[in-house]
Symmetry: C2
Subunit: 149 residues, 2 copies
């Protein structure tokens, strides 16, 4: 196997085809990475979640990193890493159009791995279920792929 850089276009195309990635945020010196589901559209990754660690941290520091991968086999895979920033899509009139875009995008395949919808039953406290819509603006993107020799 060797590893090739992917073009920006190919990297964005992978984002357009995938729905599950990993998002990292930072508080102080401590990073935190967790799976998240998203839908790519026109330079942004749209997503939502319930208020919790990830949303709290991104509200305080909007800089994030997102990784998305597509693994076919040991020597055939693609991975894309984005540096971006969090933009919350609140209920204000100014963001109503963008919220509608997010809602429509996320309604497609909404059954796929959406813990944002689901209450944690075994904890002593149930999470509030009002969703927070947000998007990640892509500031930098890079991609690499493994190619069988």
């Amino acid at each position: 196997m060797h590893i090739k850089d992917m073009s920006r276009e190919t990297s964005l195309s992978l984002l357009g085809h995938m729905r599950l990635g990993h998002i990292a945020c930072t508080r102080g010196l401590q990073p935190y990475v967790t799976p998240f589901s998203f839908a790519y559209h026109d330079g942004y990754l749209y997503s939502f979640g319930t208020v919790g660690k990830k949303i709290d941290w991104m509200r305080a520091n909007p800089l994030v990193s997102v990784e998305v991968e597509h693994i076919v086999s040991v020597d055939e895979w693609q991975t894309v890493v984005v540096a971006g920033h969090f933009e919350e899509l609140d209920d204000s009139p100014a963001t109503s159009e963008v919220r509608a875009v997010a809602h429509d995008l996320l309604a497609v395949n909404a059954d796929w791995w959406q813990p944002g919808y689901v209450k944690t039953l075994s904890s002593s406290q149930e999470r509030p279920l009002s969703p927070v819509y947000f998007r990640i603006a892509i500031d930098e993107i890079s991609g690499h792929e493994g190619v069988a020799d």
Copy 2:
């Protein structure tokens, strides 16, 4: 589907069965997340890589987050998140035993997705290939699983 907390024991057991995860590190306010392969042993995740962004950042700030997941289907999955810190296993006599442990652990399944071994051919510069061995000490661990209703 509902989501359950996983016990510490079950979470560590998942780490013991998986070889591929995602590691996030931080420089200033900016996080960076990337795939990494590892082998779990006795409270540590062993890994290696070549000098580059990830190693550089962890040398400057050892606090990391690691996520490992096992997805069977939309409503049957497990994910573990670790807060930990980077410990480089250099060539000194003090770490020679631990390096040997790391080497033996990582030699098992060494064919599986190990970009640390592989030169990036399409870049103008080839990466130096001397591997940096390291381990992540687990400071906190939590796990969640999706269970079909």
